[in-house]
Symmetry: C2
Subunit: 662 residues, 2 copies
Amino acid sequence: MPVTRRQCANAIRALAIDAIEKANSGHPGAPLGMADMAEALWRHGLRHNPANPGWVNRDRFVLSNGHASMLIYALLHLTGYALTMDDIRNFRQLGSLTPGHPEYGHTPGVDITTGPLGSGIASAVGMALAEASLARKYNRPGHTIVDHMTYVFLGDGCLMEGVSHEACSLAGVWKLGKLVALYDDNGISIDGKVDGWFTEDVRARYLAYGWQVIGPVDGHDSDALDKALAAARADTERPSLIICRTHIGFGSARADSEKSHGAPLGEEIAAQAKQALGCAAEAFTVPADVAAAWDAREEGARLEAAWKEAFAAYEAAYPELAADFVRRMEGRLPEGADQALADFAAGVRESRPKLATRVASKNVLSALVPVIDDLIGGSADLSGSVGTKTPSSTMLDTATYEGNYICYGVREFGMGCIMNGLAVHGGFIPYAGTFMVFSDYAKHAVRLASLMNLKVVWVLTHDSYAVGEDGPTHQPVEHLAMLRSIPGCKVWRPCDSEECAASWKDALATQGPTCLSLSRQGVPFIDKQAGAPIEKGGYVLRDCEGVPQVILLATGSEVSLCVEAQARLAEEGIRVRVVSMPCCEVFDAQDAAYRESVLPDAVRARLAVEAGWPDYWRRYVGLDGDVLGLDHFGASAPGGVLAREFGFTADNVVERARALAR
Amino acid sequence: MPVTRRQCANAIRALAIDAIEKANSGHPGAPLGMADMAEALWRHGLRHNPANPGWVNRDRFVLSNGHASMLIYALLHLTGYALTMDDIRNFRQLGSLTPGHPEYGHTPGVDITTGPLGSGIASAVGMALAEASLARKYNRPGHTIVDHMTYVFLGDGCLMEGVSHEACSLAGVWKLGKLVALYDDNGISIDGKVDGWFTEDVRARYLAYGWQVIGPVDGHDSDALDKALAAARADTERPSLIICRTHIGFGSARADSEKSHGAPLGEEIAAQAKQALGCAAEAFTVPADVAAAWDAREEGARLEAAWKEAFAAYEAAYPELAADFVRRMEGRLPEGADQALADFAAGVRESRPKLATRVASKNVLSALVPVIDDLIGGSADLSGSVGTKTPSSTMLDTATYEGNYICYGVREFGMGCIMNGLAVHGGFIPYAGTFMVFSDYAKHAVRLASLMNLKVVWVLTHDSYAVGEDGPTHQPVEHLAMLRSIPGCKVWRPCDSEECAASWKDALATQGPTCLSLSRQGVPFIDKQAGAPIEKGGYVLRDCEGVPQVILLATGSEVSLCVEAQARLAEEGIRVRVVSMPCCEVFDAQDAAYRESVLPDAVRARLAVEAGWPDYWRRYVGLDGDVLGLDHFGASAPGGVLAREFGFTADNVVERARALAR
């Protein structure tokens, strides 16, 4: 008797039940509910190769409701990825390949980290855009090298989160026909039946975005799912949402109850469920015929081999394009990038431009964009203000997918997740800008980029009270501290064009997110010693003879105040060192000897100057130093007026430094 | 000749042009575009009293596209609020009543701070819910005391932001018939024509949410606007969206161009525009007949007087209800709240419960909810986990608006803005919960609550790596630092039930937001000295004889580790003081003598222990102390395993304290 599709789906269910029971922790409801959907997709159409999770032309799979992690672990195990039954047994244990939520870069076959609801579907939009853009750039007649789908599973929670609105609205604008989302419509969220808080007409909503909406279909009817998936793939002009009516906790006594969502079923219900599903009572077993039916290794090898053959022909016909494609997918910078940065830095050392650092950043970008095709820029509707659009930037054309610049609209969080999707797909270095104060909206996207070590660059301008007239709603205060406290996130706050070039250089070399903190207002160019080690994140910018009586530390727009103060204090005979500290994270990573050479432990009279939350700087100035910062909200007035009001003047630096020097 | 409606609208336009030109800064496009909408609403139906911006039954007005601030300043001036022409002249100047974006609590007649797009419409949902809930609670047959509309102006940007999706979807669920939003549909955002990034069918989207959608109407046709507003008011079952087709920069040579959005028109275009609009060339003038046509003082006085009369009759018929209503609208706590907290604290000192602090918080709430009607609770779909739903909590009934508990669904940012709306309306103390890691999604709502000094309480549970198996996506690391760096925001991280009661007590007494940081895992009850001053935010929990060799500072779930370590170190003869620091902001606000009594300047051997971003604590331990924190992401494993892995053990505290004591 041939294996039935339900038996295949039930293999997922059994593994999910077993792993969650053994861990005594996890979310059984969703994998039990979505197992038939998973069977339909993963056994009937998903193009992937378990032996090579990094195959660049594989279909991408995003489990946006990431708490259903046992679903994907079961799928990876069953189809033949390097995820053993022991790994399944170690679900949610320290160091295992099967953590509580899927983690990119940790488990072979997991295309993106999910769990924070909404972020998965939003990033999937970026992945689908990456495919479309690369296809346009690299495919040639008779040589279709880039051609894959992006599939998403998502739940009610993802649809409630605002970021799904932002990104899915854009997916409609962009007509991403190869994006297919399967909505696990089970009518239950953690607080119970969703009728009390989620009554919107999802179908109408997605039609409003310009999507194809299919269903509702019975999410446990394999034939219906096949037809829906076929219809979704057939519409190449619109992203598709398949509404799948399912039963959370399918097969268990907790079906259709929120009780199945986030806690193990418990021994008794688990055993009953496995029996009802016709699965063996023994834990962690898959019948041989079911295992064989799931095994995708042969087909996967065939798919990738065919692609490799096609790629070889492409390589023969278009060697340069092929080499460039490989370079981009491997994440190597093109030749010329370092030279462009070096030339730029040499140029500004010559011309000494007095510019807002947001303009300096635009100038750096203007040098980089022509030589780094990987760069894909954008802004949350502030292109002119944040300087992300360069003369070489061309708007994304939604008919052809040509272009290297995206107007994301006023959608910071969506922009962040889409950038993560572009980066995690491969082939792109996304950068985008908004006002720093609105990094709040996108903060969790930055966190996820850090967690995944994704190279994305945030261009955060208008980085202090010096925004001026727009007032406190638009003036960041606490944001530098917020961003710096994200593990693995680098914040660069350059003081001028030269430091700005160094910031971009480091950002491009960093496998992780970088936030650039850039001024709205003009700042002077600061002459530095030849070879000043900006790349070390912090360095002695001005020094005195002998041991300093005071060290001034500053970043960005406040550096020039310290340079001026130092000169004036020198006239008074006070020995002052000025340390420019454009990137604390990079400085902290230097060896102890270097750090000591910049900030000698014995010199505790230290004044940090930065127009942000002051106490961040206690890590450098300690209890005996001082900080000139801002511990309150800003105000609406011209920036220069506020500088005096808030004490960001060389006079005040002089005064406070003098007090320390006593 | 009677004054025309267009003339009235043009008075707004002229003032907007003049003020922006004089400030040489601002956003003319939106006020010019929305002036006819404003005239239709503010001269034909808005019920308010310029002499008393605090009249509790006034219609609320939310300028969600807050960059159009000159629109509301012009309206307030023209209708007769205490906003003089000099105030208009001082647009965007230091200390003026006319800052760049509207600020609640600063300018008479501004009902809420706006500027961060989307937040206004989202908070308006909370304001409308407040009205509906108070009406249900206090109105009686023949005595309609609470009965007002909530009007919103919003633009494309608000609709693009995800938070508008979250809150407007809920507004549909809640059937908020008295919420009317006017959409300034001008087809332009900062980056240009929105066709490239905003093609969704807004009408279909809002119908999907269960709203009435009216229009598109010509946003410059007063009769059409009147009819649309009448239709909006007539539908009492659904919130209404009126789509108003307008021309940004109406009347100027920059009409229909993004160039009018965010920069002054410039002298020449400004003069042309004023001429074209038939306005006097002289700046800051309003023709007498136009001024008279706008003056709403008489009508406003009549409206409020009629309400006062009705309220007097209500007071006579229902004195207790009336007194309670007045108390709530004045923001005074009811009698009994303090006693309930004192009783609770006494009880736990007796019973010494070992509980997760999230459960301790639920227990405190369970004592408070029955005595404080003002409390309106909720959760972003985690009611059971975060302990916000008490035995006295009843679900909001969307048919009757009874109930004091809201299931917000998985919508953290929307929840935060709605809480802000409930608070700013008056009559409510909103509290709601989610996992701390998802405070990221809502961070900007917390910021806005701080900026407005709104009493809202965030119940942030699962506050460290000790979340355990859910892994790094669900384990906060940097969030305590993020929240503490928001000016005016208090973060309480209690160590047990007694500190939890003190946290709630302080939160209820604070005119500003409070974030409670609460553990997932159980923690011991900590015996304290009688009268231990928990309310001071930090206090000596355990002391030694003589000058301490080491001070241990800890919060929340790490306090018990330090208590244990102190006892063990005492056996070794090492003199250790333990400071419990549940709220740094409150401790910092104590006088210097108290702070010195807790943290003597001379004792620099200090070890801070908190399962979060370590460098926050450098402000207390300086360069010579040590911090046992977490400077990296967490991992998926049982919490106890992670505690050992990450060093959150008494052994490690002992070892690190010993090293400092040397």
